[in-house]
């Protein structure tokens, strides 16, 4: 898995923080067949995304193969301050994982 697979942007407006995250992942469904060999391409997808703010979970996403390639995720929460950080981590069905943090602007 490539390094730095997550891009995060967190912006505070009033008391609501909006987080946007873009992950690079192929999100293979397991339904497609390889046209050359005729074999099924095994599924490879992000199963779980955990978003945390100062050690507290604000969002847990459970995903299936139906989430698009290079998944985009956006959510909003209250109670954060400018300069604090948001952490996003994903785990895929092969047990690969990645984490990144971003400061709230």
């Amino acid at each position: 898995m490539a390094k730095k697979s997550i891009r995060i942007r967190a912006e505070i407006k009033g008391d609501v923080t909006e987080v946007k995250a873009l992950m690079s992942h192929e999100m293979e469904t397991g339904l497609r067949t390889d046209k050359k060999t005729g074999e099924k391409i095994p599924p490879h997808f992000i199963k779980e995304v955990v978003c945390e703010h100062s050690g507290k979970q604000v969002l847990l996403a459970n995903w299936s193969v139906a989430v698009s390639k290079n998944p985009y995720l956006s959510f909003k929460f209250k109670g954060a301050k400018k300069g604090e950080s948001v952490k996003v981590s994903w785990t895929d069905n092969k047990g690969d994982t990645d984490t990144d943090e971003e400061t709230i602007k």
Binding site: G30, E48, V50, L59, V67, F75, K76
Partner: protein, 154 residues
Amino acid sequence: MKRRTFLQGTIASSMVGAAVSAGLLTPRMVLAAWPESAFSAKSVDEALNSLVGSVTHSASGDIKIKAPDIAENGAVVPITISTSLPKVESISVLVEKNPSPLAADFKLAANSEGFVSTRVKMGKTSDLIAIVKSGGNLFSAKKEVKVTIGGCGG
């Protein structure tokens, strides 16, 4: 094919087990185990039954689904769900006519706003269903998206 998915599922869960014993995962992450049966369910009711233990949900005007009326590319359908319902515990996204309807399930914290946005794949023209769990009850909203090129299989 079924057997293969089953085997893979077993391997994946045993790997999670190994990661837990190695102390790689925090206990909280373990509690939120991935709902295998809900994601493999072949119908909306089956998925809901497995995910939240109930198929009864009432349509609510307080849930808004923002998605295109026509999606040229079913592989990438942007969807935004927002709700003004109080105490939102979870938001689930289902694509009625996908091989497995449940696409994503979001668990929200007490300080989260009732808002999620993502992109999903749609095999063909279908209803998008948003299920919001608020104060222990299920509320739903639907929106049809016409798909010109499917996003599943190939």
